[in-house]
Symmetry: D2
């Protein structure tokens, strides 16, 4: 249940306090305040979490300062598309806009290794006229004895290089809430030369403590990868954890499901779910063809499977792509075998463009 | 192991007989003769099935009439792409060509119900300038008490209508070897007004007796659907059954895998495997978006998930599409809820065209 | 819907004919006659297959000769356990009884190879005081170039040896309806020295034509293995195909599900479903630990995983076990690596006995 | 690679420091010290994590203070069973011993709700002569709006009640590293009346930060549940994370895999892997039948599926059972429908005993 306050009220007003006090007195209910910044005004909404079955909607609507009460029937209260739901979609972060209509490419390194590689990657991205990248500092690895990433140490120079090449957003996986503070500190120390999109990997899709920590901050958007052993519904519930804590800047990422039915690909590519996510929620949809496909195998038509999977996601309306490149895949510390090489970047961007144009043509035709 | 005879020899020559006699004398080996019709000549090949490990290649090559012996290391001896393999690909049936480069659309009824519906469907297909369709007479159903198809009874008038509307190929599922004879009889009785592509469904992918029966005839091509509970490798081995019996006119069809990870789709759409099949074998690749997606859900961009899945298959190079239409889905006896309606056919064909053009542009760019 | 006729009526009476004529006149309905042989009398039941929604029950009950009409709400009309369902369970074939309470062990060869091995196996079984075995003559193989079984040729001497050693029932996989006639001919020619339980393998669980053929005969019971890529509900529907054609002598066999989640076992052992099958249907439940486990790996307690899996099925109430032995696994033509050796038979039988006694003790305690 | 120091050396000696200094100077290697407390002495081992391929074993063995170097070929360096590996197994915690030979039952509440229920449960456990239980204070929930557990608040009175009823070990799920400190503080404040086994749930199996935090402390043993969407190998690697940080007191828990192939059970029961875990590692194996089965369905023999699944795990050698009871399942805040009732406890314990005795008889027979 969502209690929407009168437009002039903010979270600090006395009327807001009175409404909150009333709601807190109801057993089994935890009210949470959300500020929704629109173009004209700031709206204050109170989400009621817990056993809302016994609440009297009319009684709450009668409280001074309450504009209206929205009953949420589906699980994804904040992120879901509800009948008659006219709330605004998408967001802009550090000058880059993310929504269900546009498209952003995040080409970069799976894992930060050397400064030379990071600079080479960022320069190539900038040369293509792009302003986003991916760079992994914290790497969760299946085997405890594998390389675990450079961690906080590399952040200062990674951010500095991002600023040098005009990178506006770096998608960066985190695996513990303390990483948020480390990233914030490094950004501040380096004069905020870039922005960071916090990325939660498939092994942590249901790490609810991490989700809550990312949801409690509003500085950075969050990219949540689908969990590889759970249903789509459960992964969408995980996204809702972020939003239920207050952060609506959430992007959902398809990355393949783990089952041998997907062999010889590393995972079972699930990009047919692009339109499903868009139908069920407001989230922009990202695809991660590198980890889904996991090989550099090539079809007889001369195109790598990774190119094909990318085109499949885009022609169905994907809004973002995370893709691994590496200046020297053979020396990469993580997932080298699946990385594209720098000289494949131009082709990749052009291939994406063909698929994106086809999607736009399909969408235009559908509207006729 | 494949024993390729001298070009002038056919299966009836005395040298061929002598070679066969020799090969049959080897314990644990079953030789099978294949006639390969090329543009210039007819080649006779002998496939050695069984325990070939102990065979002496030089000894066989020394037999009079043997041109050379090819050692087949991979499982898919006939259909697989082997290193240095220059055998010809694709085939033409009843005037329609099928290979890994071109494209054919099979829009039609999942199950034949009334003559009016069949005629309405075929007329619509012909009006679009198409000459293939799908029509199910034999329907395997999960529940024994569900409608099981009209069977052989409907064949005469279905074929007659196909002739009337210039349909060259009907994809038609069969579930027992006797259905082949029934189809042949009905075709003959009606003066061969059309052609039939024998279709083997996912429940029969490893029904080896049915595969052998389809493989022993060379009148009709065979469309084999991927098995929904087995690995891709096992499904490709099933296709090889057809070819090992002598029929190389085989098309492989992706139709989604059965796992709840694909929810809310009926099956987990597996069209990312289109380039994989083309890389591993010579078979043209078909996609079946109707049964993969299984719903008429629509994305906010106005396009049905079935349209999106189709576009995903085609932009990655699919060569054929099987798609369910129905004049009145609500009255359809089988799989009505997933069928497209007749007034969606034009849009569907145009949507496919956008994706196909995008694929061709991608392929052209890759060749630069 | 099941129409139960008056006890004195059989399938040939004129009243039965009149009832049938009436039912056949209803559009969309196919009536099928079943004879149910009880201890006191023979009951004739008519199963109505098809669109029964519009039938008027009272009208049918008013027909002369109709005792009562049972509305079947669940899918498994014949084999399912229905509320208030008091029909008799289990059956006796060639002197051996199969039901949900007792236990039979079928130790034998996965595939018939040499006469010596068959005789060695049957002698060992007889020496243990057992009278059932498994012997595969028709072997469906993933790879078309693998050994496919000796087929009908070996039947005469296999049956003769069975007679020599007092084997009452041989479980024998068939893959085509013609195999039934071959088996019947061989049995007749050899003077019916033994009985055959027709076994349908996991690749043919939804080969409905084969199911119907096995269901139309009432000479032999049928063992249906669970399909490895489908839901349990779909496999039970497949069993119902057998019964809907008239053969209620059906045993359901768990044999593991195909998913890499079961690694390092060959399949994911599914014997936790033993009590589920017994709850949902009347069928005796068989387990196939050989194919489920697929290895000869051994735990530190000295027991093979195959022994453990067997014990797990039995302590939960399994009624039958199919198990592969081989006098010389290294030379076995099919699935040798998973076979037990002849000198393990005594231990295996004793191990089973411990588990079976434990089950009986558990059942007794539950009834207190 | 494991560097085992001379017995007399501990972690603080100057020779140890010199060895460490040498190892730290090697690029790409992180050495970690483990103290292994045996009955006679304390052994110091140094685990080398990272790129050990280039290390010269002889050179390291030549360092003063090094006894020998063990090359670890398999992934599970610490927990795995290696050829010729004679390290000691099992551990004792707060007076209760856990190893691959004995058995402990943990019956308790899935989630702590009221003090009355906790006390009722502990009293029942104590009345049965048992001294372990399960009590969930921190509950990870799929839906963010569901009850999330009482958290740290309930710990003082839960521990106090445990002390009152002589409970020695409480299995308690944690979802964040801060929970360890909260538990330690509550234990200390209440005078350490009981012990806690830290439990990591299936959603956090690959939450490596949580694993490392649990691995870095040696106060409490850790129960790791298998991850529901990953391979067994990946879950065992997760267990190795705990050990690689220094805590060898690890128990591995099977809890079913998430796939609709397991329907109508909540998860696909995977207890056939009990002997597999014991063969591959030194860890005691726990089973969690409550979450695996997830229903209170009952077989015609009168036994609940949960009883059957438990018996299946135990007859194959399971060393521990986690099982949900509740005084009033209808009012339980988490997973009520699957809980056993208090009056089923006696029967459950007796049923377990039958299965355990059968396992011991099987083991004895195997050793003959």
């Amino acid at each position: 249940m969502i209690v929407i306050l009168e437009p002039q009220l903010d979270g600090d007003s006395s009327q807001t306090a009175a409404v909150l006090q009333h709601l807190r007195s109801v057993a089994g209910i935890t009210p949470k305040i959300h500020q929704v910044t629109g173009e004209q005004q700031v709206l204050t909404e109170i989400y009621l979490v817990g056993n809302t079955a016994g609440l009297d909607r009319a009684e709450i609507e009668a409280l001074p300062g309450v504009n209206r009460v929205v009953k949420v029937s589906r699980a994804y209260a904040v992120l879901g598309r509800h009948t008659g739901d006219s709330r605004s979609y998408g967001f802009t972060y550090n000058g880059v806009t993310f929504n269900q209509d546009n498209f952003n490419l995040f080409a970069g390194l799976c894992a930060v290794d050397t400064r030379a590689h990071v600079e080479q990657m960022m320069k190539a991205v900038a040369d293509m006229g792009l302003n986003c990248t991916r760079m992994g500092a914290y790497k969760p690895r299946t085997n405890p004895y594998s390389f675990q990433g450079h961690g906080a140490e590399c952040l200062p120079w990674v951010f500095e290089l991002a600023g040098k090449y005009g990178i506006k957003v770096i998608a960066m996986e985190i695996t513990h809430d303390t990483h948020i503070a480390q990233i914030n500190a490094a950004l501040k120390d380096s004069g905020n030369p870039t922005g960071v999109m916090l990325q939660i990997g498939t092994r942590n899709t249901q790490n609810f403590e991490l989700l809550k920590a990312c949801g409690r901050q509003n500085d950075h958007p969050v990219l949540l990868k689908r969990g590889f052993g759970i249903t789509l519904e459960e992964s969408l519930n995980a996204a809702e954890y972020l939003a239920s804590e207050g952060n609506r800047k959430v992007i959902f990422c398809l990355r393949g499901m783990k089952t041998n039915m997907g062999d010889p690909h590393r995972n079972f590519v699930d990009f047919s779910h692009v339109p499903v996510i868009k139908r069920m929620t407001h989230m922009p949809v990202c695809i991660d063809p590198s980890h889904s496909v996991g090989t550099r195998a090539r079809a007889p038509d001369g195109l790598l499977d990774v190119f094909h999977a990318t085109a499949q996601g885009i022609i169905a309306g994907a809004n973002m792509v995370l893709i691994d490149f590496h200046p020297n895949p053979a020396s990469a510390l993580v997932d080298g075998p699946q990385a594209l090489t720098m000289d494949e970047l131009v082709h990749y961007v052009e291939d994406i463009d063909i698929a994106r144009q086809a999607y736009l043509a399909r969408k235009k035709r559908a509207a006729e």
